[in-house]
């Protein structure tokens, strides 16, 4: 897995498949017989031939997974007979994952990773937003600050899950849905969190927390950065409150 763009000409050693690019976090690892994931290709068009050379040396990756395909890598993958898919969010992939590539459907499955769907609701009142500090009794991210969040139960519409969690966790029965955005994905160890973000407006800032949280605060959105928050929360807030 490389989080940087890749050039096969000069960036990968054709003799052993090792990544040479000094800017790459996976420098020194070999792509041979691996599923090689990176965002997109860069550099000279001769890179296509360099991929062919890697194949002849039996050091080619067994598949290539790209965020977006560009012509040099696509050309090289075809002439070197390397299966390739694109349109994958490669930021969710980590070196060492056990990957299955389905070239027909264009899908990447990570065998060692579980996907979990959760809602995160940002409740706003009088220009401030509600942050909850997770208690020591919950299963994950203890002591960190979060929105109103919880699992989406099987077949449950996500807005219902969001409203259910608001009632359970902070006692808010009435709130107006202001905005919802496309789910955001975050990788954390062996879990990919698929977060369904909502923004609600509450008239009454009175809240009653349950056992899942130890405290709460109403904060100005610009101050959120000062809090130790659960992964991805700041990204969700900046997208919900542009």
């Amino acid at each position: 897995m490389c989080s940087c763009p890749v050039s096969f000409l000069g960036g990968v050693d054709p003799a052993n498949g090792k990544i040479l690019d000094i800017d790459c976090e996976s420098r020194g690892l070999s792509v041979a017989d691996k599923v090689f994931c990176f965002p997109f290709g860069k550099g000279s068009t001769v890179g296509s031939y360099a991929m062919y050379q890697l194949r002849l040396n039996r050091m080619a990756p067994c598949a290539i997974v790209n965020g977006s395909a560009e012509p040099i890598i696509a050309t090289g993958a075809i002439i070197a007979d390397i299966p390739m898919i694109d349109g994958v969010n490669v930021s969710l992939v980590r070196t060492g994952d056990s990957a299955v590539v389905d070239g027909d459907s264009g899908a990447l499955e990570l065998r060692n990773v579980t996907e979990r769907h959760v809602v995160t609701s940002i409740v706003r009142s009088k220009g401030r937003i509600l942050l909850l500090r997770r208690s020591s009794k919950v299963g994950s991210y203890r002591g960190q600050w979060a929105g109103v969040s919880g699992y989406i139960e099987h077949d449950e519409p996500d807005e219902n899950a969001a409203r259910r969690e608001m009632a359970e966790e902070v006692g808010l029965e009435v709130a107006k849905l202001v905005r919802r955005i496309q789910p955001e994905m975050f990788r954390d160890v062996d879990i990919v969190w698929c977060v369904h973000p909502f923004l609600f407006e509450a008239k009454d800032p009175k809240v009653r927390i349950d056992w899942e949280h130890q405290s709460y605060e109403w904060v100005s959105p610009k101050d959120v950065a000062a809090y130790p928050t659960v992964p991805g929360l700041q990204q969700v807030i900046s997208k919900l409150l542009p």
Partner: protein, 389 residues
């Protein structure tokens, strides 16, 4: 992308592995660029012919591909890394020659015309207005789109070869009229003598990926050749529209998003910044390859002069043009080598030379990088003056 039944059959491998691979390549690129279908082409120009640029991996790919594939339309080929007849006197070693010969054989087996020039339009592959073609070689692509009115994207070597094999290319980019309309206007007030290539050099930097609409002084076809080549080297430009005084332009002014004026002073500054020094191992003229008119012009000036013999001199041209100009070639040979099949950009000049002067804006981009040279720009007439007395 929608494929016809015969195209599907090629993709399924029913016409052999070579045509299948070529079709896979066209379909993959078509998908990346959002093409809806394949369209027929009348010709291809293939890049990646010099051993210096494609290396051992390129040879192996071409040798393998040539076992099962053949081009189905007129396909011409870019310059090699050497003159097939005079490679020894160029300073090319035997192992390079051996590798280059394998590339030549592979392309020949593929059915590609042994034209070995970046100016196919001067050597028997000249498309007509409105024809779709699949040309690699950025200088030829920009000339075909801008001066001949043919339609091509800036292909890579393998994609142009795949298009030549299938006889089709994916319909996207400059194959569609809406992408050929200029978005930036560049006014060039005047071009000092010999600095036409540098006007292209500067325009390429400004235009980037956009199609520029250039209003400037009259340029001959040969001047367009050098101007466009430099533009395509400094930018990702594959086409420009050109308007000169007294000619009616057909550009939709409403679509112009930016207007830039390019004063002659900026061209002089560019000339100074690329001037380099005056100690040259090599003086190289002919990037892109010289036309008959250019050989005539130089021969006329040099006819009554004597060689100065300070630097080696290369005049680079295509074998077709060379054959058309025996008298001019005889005169130029008194001053240096008249080389065919190759040029200073793709020949391994770094093995013999350290410092090269040229009148080409394109060469100013590639000599320092690909060629490892200290490069010095001079207008053609100054180079001719320097090599003669």
């Amino acid at each position: 992308m929608h494929l016809s039944a015969p195209e599907e059959r090629i993709l399924a491998g029913e016409e052999g592995p070579g045509r299948q691979k070529a079709m896979e390549l066209l379909v993959a690129l078509g998908d990346i660029y959002g093409a809806k279908r394949l369209i027929p082409i009348s010709s291809a120009q293939i890049s990646g012919a010099s051993f210096k640029t494609i290396g051992d991996a390129g040879i192996l790919f071409l040798e393998d591909f040539s076992k099962t594939a053949k081009v189905s339309v007129h396909a011409s080929l870019n310059p090699l890394g050497l003159d097939l007849r005079h490679w020894k006197s160029m300073g090319v070693d035997a192992s390079f020659h051996e590798k280059q010969s394998r590339i030549v054989r592979a392309y020949s087996t593929l059915g590609v015309e042994p034209s070995y020039t970046c100016t196919p339009y001067l050597a028997g592959n000249r498309p007509r207005r409105g024809e779709h073609i699949a040309w690699a070689e950025s200088s030829a692509t920009v000339f075909a789109n801008s001066c001949l009115g043919a339609m091509t994207n800036r292909e890579g070597g393998p994609s142009a070869l795949a298009a030549a094999i299938i006889g089709k290319t994916a319909e996207y980019g400059l194959h569609l009229d809406e992408n050929r309309r200029p978005r930036v206007r560049i006014d060039i007030e005047s071009i000092p003598e010999g600095l036409g290539p540098l006007a292209g050099y500067v325009v390429g930097r400004i235009a980037g990926k956009r199609v520029p609409y250039i209003c400037g002084p009259h340029l001959t076809a040969d001047e367009h050749k050098s101007f466009g080549a430099a533009m395509a080297a400094t930018g990702a430009v594959s086409m420009y529209a050109y308007s000169e005084p007294g000619r009616k332009d057909r550009v939709n002014k409403l679509e112009i998003e930016e207007e830039i004026s390019l004063p002659a002073s900026e061209l002089r500054e560019c000339s100074e910044s690329l001037a380099g020094d005056s100690e040259w191992d090599l003086v190289a003229i002919g990037c892109p390859h010289c036309s008959s008119a250019e050989l005539r012009g130089m021969a006329r000036y040099l006819k009554i002069r004597k060689p100065a013999r300070k630097s080696d001199v290369w005049f680079c041209t295509s074998r077709k043009v060379y054959a058309r100009c025996p008298n001019e070639v005889a005169i130029l040979k008194r001053f240096g080598r008249v080389l065919c099949d190759t040029c200073m950009v793709v020949a391994p000049i770094e093995k013999k030379y350290r410092s090269t002067a040229s009148d080409s804006g394109k060469a100013m981009v590639y000599l320092p990088t690909l060629g490892g040279q200290r490069a010095s720009f001079r207008p053609t007439n100054m180079l001719l003056e320097a090599i003669s007395r």
